[in-house]
């Protein structure tokens, strides 16, 4: 009759012929190890002492792999599985403490979720920095295109939206080929007439810029997908792009989670902060979180207060994302909304001159 090594969250047993030869009870801290397919060191010692050299059957490939350096273990066959199941059921019926294994499982699952997303913040940082690089390149090239194409059709600069401007050139090239609504200004244009090859090279530039816009869209989509997995709380609270920028400025999710709220508030305003420290200028009230619509869209005298409230919530969100993975952002968001409403109510009017320094201290 073979020996069976039976692993359960209640403990590890060695059985022969349905008879219990050894049972080592598991403490709560042993359970994760057992579930990962490892036996606690002291258990292995104990089993080794009693059963060294004897063939032992186990139903977990992972255990067979590493335990065979100490013991003569083999993988259980289908017939063995039936017996192993019977014994496990007996152990479970006699010893299972539901709340204990449930607590451990919940903790382990959180930990696994966290690990599954660990280091993915590095991908986020690269992607958001690529978005910023693209924005800079696009801006540079659009300015060049505007200056260049203005030699031919300066009036088109009334189209303020860069992307739209680029698309028009790509599509039509020659000003007389523009659609109806531009024809009037095209006819009376002050620009010079051009040879087709002069215009062709501008159109070609326009079409490359357009590709950069598409690339940017692709990156944004990618971030919208990735951020909620890595930092769901930050993502919900301020949207995937701003969440990504904060991680990038802090140097990663872990670092962001360990920053005090007051630093998060001015992340991205380092220059202003140094000016403040070195020359005693006013300290910055907000860094990149200025991009949050309710900071940017609020009257100047409320912004600092709203930024501070937001930074406090961001700091909690980052810590939840990094340490536990629990999603509490909806709550954080509604707390923040309440706080913002309060600030707007309380500081409806701009502070009077001279009272400004007092109000800042509050």
């Amino acid at each position: 009759m073979p020996l069976y090594l039976i692993t359960t969250s209640e403990g590890i047993g060695v059985y022969r012929d349905g008879e219990k030869l050894l049972f080592l009870e598991a403490k709560s801290e042993h359970i994760p190890e057992i579930m990962e397919g490892k036996l606690p060191r002291e258990f292995v010692d104990e089993i080794e002492k009693r059963f060294k050299g004897e063939e032992i059957l186990v139903d977990d490939k992972r255990i067979v792999e590493w335990l065979s350096q100490y013991l003569l273990v083999k993988l259980a066959s289908d017939d063995d599985l039936r017996e192993i199941k019977r014994i496990r059921r007996k152990i479970k019926d006699e010893m299972e403490e539901w709340n204990r294994i449930r607590d451990v499982s919940i903790r382990m699952t959180r930990e696994r979720i966290r690990r599954a997303s660990a280091d993915r913040d590095k991908l986020i940082i690269q992607a958001i920095e690529a978005v910023d690089d693209l924005d800079k390149s696009i801006n540079l090239l659009v300015s060049r295109l505007r200056e260049w194409y203005s030699l031919h059709f300066p009036e088109l600069n009334d189209v303020k939206d860069h992307e739209e401007y680029v698309q028009l050139i790509k599509k039509y090239g020659e000003r007389s080929k523009f659609p109806e609504k531009y024809l009037e200004i095209a006819k009376s244009s002050m620009g010079a007439d051009m040879e087709p090859e002069d215009l062709e090279v501008m159109r070609s530039l326009a079409s490359r810029i357009e590709e950069l816009y598409r690339m940017r869209e692709e990156l944004v989509k990618y971030l919208e997908d990735l951020v909620p997995r890595v930092a769901p709380n930050l993502g919900i609270l301020v949207g995937p792009l701003l969440a990504a920028r904060l991680m990038s400025l802090a140097g990663g999710l872990e670092k962001l989670a360990k920053l005090p709220a007051s630093t998060i508030q001015v992340l991205g305003a380092e220059k202003a902060l140094f000016r403040h420290l070195r020359k005693g200028k006013n300290p910055p009230k907000h860094g990149v979180i200025y991009q949050y619509p309710k900071v940017r869209g609020s009257p100047r005298w409320q912004r600092g207060k709203i930024a501070r409230a937001l930074a406090a919530k961001l700091s909690i969100a980052a810590r939840m994302d990094y340490f536990s993975g629990e999603v509490v952002a909806d709550e954080l968001k509604s707390d923040l909304e309440d706080r913002i409403a309060e600030i707007r109510e309380k500081y409806k009017k701009p502070p009077k001159k001279g009272a400004a320094s007092r109000s800042r201290r509050r």
Binding site: S9, M35, R82, K85, I101, I106, T109, I113, G325
Partner: protein
Amino acid sequence: MEITKHRFKGVYQIKEEDRPGVEIATVNLSPGTRVYGERIIRHSGREYRIWDPYRSKLSAAIHKGLSEMPISPGSRVLYLGAASGTTASHVSDIIGEDGKIFCVEMSSRTMRELITLCERRKNMIPILGDARKPWEYSSLVGYSDVIYQDVAQPDQAKIALENAKRLLKPGGFAIIAIKSRSIDVTKDPREIFKEEVRKIERGGFEVIEVKRLDPFEKDHAIILGRFEG
């Protein structure tokens, strides 16, 4: 409104004046919370969660007259492919405080939602794992009275058998949702269901019933089997 007991323990039938047809529901084990936006009806001190057959295949199978329901108050259930817990939450309602449900889900993203549900419901345990590797959770689960499986994978029959072999008690039941399109889109669904039934029978099950789920779910069936071996 009229609320009556369904012939399946833990399931209720609700007839409301202003709605056509009869709906089924379970009693909310976590009063005051919804799981997937389901309707909640409060009646004589109890909270009923309407169990939507368009959202849950088990509800669809019951609506279509499933002959036997192995999940009942006190059951120990192994749920494979729990997703964010739509069906699992109703199973949790049915088995009640004395029941136990182990929810295996592979996607860590989906698990984020499921884990919140498991924290609220004391009879649920989350397992972030792959149903193709039952040995990785055998020491925790030990055994089960019922396996409910909905993984939408081409090797679903094999997954069910591997889990039954290790974790389903003799005489226990498996409820397996089969999606014909995840096996072969070009074949006639009937043929696919037959083939899956044969595989499951060869693995030691007596197949009690195959229930097609249309119109609630297209190309889906539920196989109910009893494990003999």
